[in-house]
């Protein structure tokens, strides 16, 4: 099978998965006992007649399949509608929040993937060394501790204790930058960034470290490394080859991890008051703002699916022995 055919096949599968995810979101929200407007009636802000009007406006009177189709069409064209509580398009709420989250998590994940993998390879190569033992213990502790606990510790030490870094939010209350560049390329942002970033890096470091270490340990006794050594390659060059041969599981895991990017994001963002998608979701749920909830969940699901697709493709590209047909 050619790579192109493989690509098409995988993409179709990913699209189907997305459709399924979307349908589940739809069904779940429709199955909830009360619709959002009953709450408004109960609270006395709308009369039943007004509710009828609003329902018609939102198309909730149409037959269910019409609603479904419209809903799917909207999601796939990234038309998320109007927020029920904030009277703005959902996109305007979700997109900046999503960007904030990605700005925090993606660099953290990339940094931890690279650093901990390298450390893990070094640890695996020097098996039984002091470095190996201590790095495993340290990263395992951080992996086992919930991310918000690490976050709270960091806050206690560096904000409240030493007072070096701010404790809340993404920028000082007084700063009011416009546009992404001004927002993210500032010292003020950086000071807010360090702690949640560190918490994330520490949390994920254990997985990559162990994975890299284990694959290098596995490669270490292999015949091909012996031949590399017999050719006169230096220790570091041999480690380099062992590392290259361990790349496959690491890349796969990286993609998988990125797909599960939003796991733990809620507590992280709540602890650091980071205005990201996790916090937006929590607020939307509390406010029963269904269009926003829908959009946030959809985006998270989409991220998982797209990242898994990338993982598959990277796998096929990286491993010469994987004939694209077998995947």
């Amino acid at each position: 099978m050619s790579f192109r055919r493989f690509l098409i096949k995988r993409t179709v599968i990913a699209a189907l998965l997305t459709l399924i995810a979307v349908s589940i979101i739809f069904a779940t929200l429709r199955l909830l006992p009360a619709d959002p407007f009953s709450a408004l009636v109960a609270s006395g802000s709308l009369t039943p007649e007004e509710v009828e009007q609003v329902r018609a406006m939102y198309g909730l009177d149409d037959p269910i399949y019409v609603q479904y189709l419209r809903y799917v069409e909207n999601l796939f064209t990234f038309e998320f509608g109007i927020s029920l509580t904030q009277q703005r398009p959902v996109g305007e709420i979700i997109v900046p929040a999503l960007v904030n989250t990605l700005v925090l998590l993606l660099p953290a994940l990339v940094v931890t993937a690279i650093l901990s993998s390298l450390a893990g390879m070094y640890a695996g190569w020097n098996r039984g060394s002091w470095f190996e033992q201590s790095s495993i213990v340290a990263t395992t502790v951080f992996r086992a501790t919930p991310i918000f606990v690490t976050g709270i510790f960091l806050l206690i030490i560096f904000s409240y204790g030493l007072g070096w870094l701010p404790a809340f939010g993404m920028r000082s209350p007084l700063a009011n930058p416009q546009g992404y560049v001004a927002t993210y390329a500032s010292v003020d942002f950086l000071r807010h960034y360090i702690l949640p970033f560190t918490a994330t890096v520490l949390f994920y470091s254990g997985d990559f470290l162990m994975l890299a270490r284990n694959s290098v340990v596995e490669r270490k006794g292999s015949e091909f490394l012996m031949l590399h050594r017999a050719k006169g390659l230096s220790e570091m060059e041999q480690l380099g080859r062992a590392g290259r041969n361990s790349l496959l599981p690491l890349v796969t895991y990286f993609a998988l991890r990125t797909g599960m990017l939003f796991q733990g994001v809620i507590t992280l963002e709540v602890v650091f008051a980071w205005p990201g998608i996790g916090r937006a979701l929590v607020q939307a749920i509390l406010n029963q703002d269904y269009p926003t909830v829908q959009a946030a969940v959809f985006i998270m699901a989409l991220a998982v699916i797209v990242m898994n697709l990338t993982a598959d493709l990277a796998y096929a590209k990286l491993d010469p022995t994987v004939e694209t047909g077998d995947v």
């Binding site: 015949e223 017999a230 390659l233 790349l247 010469p320």
Partner: protein, 701 residues
């Protein structure tokens, strides 16, 4: 001064409990341009010794005594950095298992280039030229340097490692079992290539192998190792012409020649010595039939006998021992009455008629829709084979010729796609009818790999009784039959083995458990797929003897599949040679071996190395590898590689009866009369031409 001088080297591996004393005071030296052989069963310390010369011992290994001098320089004192410059530049290494020795995620060209550029300051382009050059030298297509290791067959990968070793014109080549696991024909070509190139570039060769034949044919001098000690050392012709050491005698016996059919395999019973203590007595004493109290006391020193060195207290009795060793009884093996073979008289147990197993090649969905006919791999393509009571039928052929598929189809482990299989006259479909019980009680299978075929958590008792339980026997019968069978395959007393786990057994013992598992149901037909290929020579002989015995005693029919012709000719009453899914030749073993009619059979037989150094054998340089059995040309399958092929051969496929004489049949229009002139000389001539084209030189570094 010799190029390499290994002096009194002692190597041990540190282990949690006791250290393993792998090499115990070995000395030898290799002169410039010489071929030196190290032989011995696996575990005798050959690889350990080779690795110490390159400074490649595993982390827990250490040289405890002695020195290794290369070109006058003491290697053991080198720092890791100094080692790096010696490796490959001066001493190159051809590893034991080419299958796993190449970096799977790097193209083979890049791996060779890496070796060159590590030591020479040359541009990538110059390095690439050299890569292409060494590729041609070993007979690989230089256009394939950009391929990854998995795109090459085993034999081709071994060529890649040889090409890599040649890249820098090293002074010494160390080849660790370079052909183990390859077919005889491929082995012959690779050894030939290796020797040719080594002579061309004038380097010395240290050849490590357990195959007496390969050493006897290629090395000037040899050391025979056992238990980390040199048992016999000196001129190869003398050593294998008339061995003086009991171990060498036993080892040579265990390697039968292809034409020694009908002789009982004589193995060295017992297993390797315990290396966790330094040897105090003769390392061979627990297996040596001539051991005395004196041997218990001290390991004999190497003394000169008859122009070579031998380590035995009784070197003066060498002639006597050699004569006695030819008698199986000396080694405690029951002598079998060879005259008592019932071959060919019993009823037919197995008959296949035009048996076919075609594998459909995957093809695109579009082709499917368009109704394009799919391609098939014709793994088994019209095979007629019969086996009688008490008869062992050997099936030989290169890897990929369909032997294993044939075995699995007959054993109903795979469905057939055409033809008929009759077991004692009953079509298999009838036997397989409602459940497979009836079939399984008659037909049993023994797999190649004793390590994989047993469940690691199942004790011997459970493993052997399982087939009986499936058949629904009562506990008492099961116990009785399990004990009997276990003892029958030589695991005596049964008590000692019944409660052991596979990990507690040696390779040979495991394979015997597998045989017991197959025999416990008293099958009428036993199918063995390379049952001894993973085992050491002495164990192999052992398994052969057990199978022969069972065939004679219980009147079982046995299909014995192997690429090892020597074992086949020893054990089989009739021999069938397969090529690309068809039987090229079949007949009584003796007829086939002494007068092969099909050019392929003749080549295969001629490719087996001779353990007798006095025999001068011409190598079989059969061109190419078997083609992919998908798009086979019309006519005779073998025509593209056959030196005798003519127009007729390419037209219509020869029937198996094209040559027939008293049960000896060959599918060939022009049966071989004289192997030497009709085949071997023509192969060699064709090769000369090919080489002549290549040699018009490229740049050298």
């Amino acid at each position: 001064m010799s190029l390499l001088e290994v002096d009194d080297v002692k190597i041990a591996y540190r282990m949690p409990g006791d250290d393993v004393h792998a090499v115990n005071g070995v000395s030898f030296s290799i002169d410039e341009g010489d071929n030196y052989g190290l032989v011995g069963e696996s575990g005798c310390g050959k690889s350990t010794l080779a690795k110490s010369v390159l400074g490649l011992l595993d982390d827990n290994g250490e040289v405890r005594r002695g020195s290794v001098r290369f070109d006058g320089r003491d290697l053991l004192d080198l720092s890791e950095r100094e080692w790096q410059s010696v490796r490959w530049e001066d001493i190159a290494y051809i590893p034991q298992s080419a299958m796993d020795s190449l970096d799977p995620v790097m193209t083979v060209g890049a791996q060779i280039r890496q070796a060159i550029r590590k030591h020479r300051d040359v541009s990538k382009a110059t390095a690439n030229e050299r890569v292409a050059e060494v590729f041609e030298m070993v007979g690989l297509d230089p256009d394939r340097t950009g391929n990854y290791p998995h795109q090459f067959s085993g034999g081709m990968r071994q060529r890649v490692t040889i090409a890599m070793a040649l890249a820098l014109d090293p002074d010494l080549l160390i080849a660790d079992e370079p052909t183990t696991g390859l077919d005889v024909i491929v082995q012959d070509k690779i050894v030939d290539k290796l020797i040719e190139i080594q002579e061309e570039i004038g380097s010395s060769l240290l050849l490590i192998t357990h195959d007496v034949g390969v050493v006897a044919e290629t090395c000037d001098e040899t050391s025979v190792l056992y238990g980390g000690k040199v048992m016999e050392q000196g001129d190869t012709d003398r050593i294998f012409g008339a061995p003086t050491n009991p171990y060498t005698i036993g080892l040579k016996n265990a390697f039968p020649e292809v034409d020694q059919f009908d002789e009982q395999a004589i193995s060295i019973p017992g297993s390797l010595p315990d290396l966790t203590r330094e040897p105090t007595g003769c390392v061979f004493r627990n297996r040596c039939p001539f051991a005395t109290e004196e041997c218990e006391g001290s390991h004999p020193a190497l003394v000169e006998v008859d122009g070579r060195l031998s380590a035995c207290h009784y070197t003066d009795r060498a002639d006597e021992m050699r004569a006695e060793a030819a008698d199986p009884a000396t080694w405690g093996i029951d002598v079998r009455d060879e005259g008592d073979r019932t071959a060919g008289v019993g009823n037919a147990i197995l008959e296949t008629r035009d048996l076919e197993k075609w594998f459909r090649q995957p093809q695109g969905i579009l082709d499917d829709l368009r109704g394009v006919d799919p391609d098939y791999v014709k793994a088994v393509n019209g095979v007629d084979l019969s086996v009688r009571e008490g008869e062992i039928v050997g099936v030989a052929g290169e890897s990929g010729c369909g032997k294993s598929t044939l075995a699995e189809v007959i054993a109903a482990l795979q469905d057939r796609t055409g033809g008929e299989i009759l077991i004692e006259g009953t079509p298999v479909d009838e036997l397989l009818g409602e459940d497979t019980k009836e079939f399984r009680s008659r037909v049993q299978f023994i797999f190649q790999d004793p390590f994989d075929s047993l469940n690691p958590r199942q004790r011997v008792r459970a493993a052997v009784s399982e087939p009986l339980k499936i058949q629904g026997h009562d506990a008492e019968t099961i116990d009785r039959r399990v004990r009997r069978t276990v003892e029958d395959v030589g695991l005596r007393p049964a008590e000692k083995y019944l409660d052991q786990l596979p990990t507690q057994l040696s390779g040979g013992e495991r394979q015997r458990v597998a045989i017991a598992q197959a025999l416990v149901l008293d099958p009428t037909l036993l199918i063995c797929d390379e049952p001894a290929s993973m085992l050491d020579v002495s164990l192999k002989a052992n398994i052969l003897n057990i199978l022969r015995e069972k065939a004679d005693e219980r009147d079982i029919g046995i299909v014995y599949i192997s690429h090892d012709l020597a074992s086949l000719t020893q054990i089989a009453d009739r021999l069938a040679v397969m090529y690309l899914g068809r039987i090229a030749e079949v007949g009584a073993t003796e007829d086939v071996v002494t007068a092969p009619k099909h050019p392929y059979t003749a080549s295969l037989l001629a490719a087996s190395p001779k353990t007798d150094p006095a025999v001068d054998r011409r190598r079989v340089l059969l061109p190419g590898e078997p083609p992919n059995p998908v798009d086979l040309p019309g006519g005779c399958n073998f025509a593209p590689r056959c030196p005798k092929a003519e127009e007729t051969c390419r037209g219509e496929e020869p029937e198996r009866s094209a040559f027939a004489d008293d049960g000896h049949e060959a599918a060939c229009y022009f049966p071989v009369e004289d192997v030497e002139t009709e085949l071997l000389e023509r192969y060699a001539a064709a090769r000369e031409e090919e080489v002549g084209e290549v040699v018009e030189d490229g740049p050298t570094l």
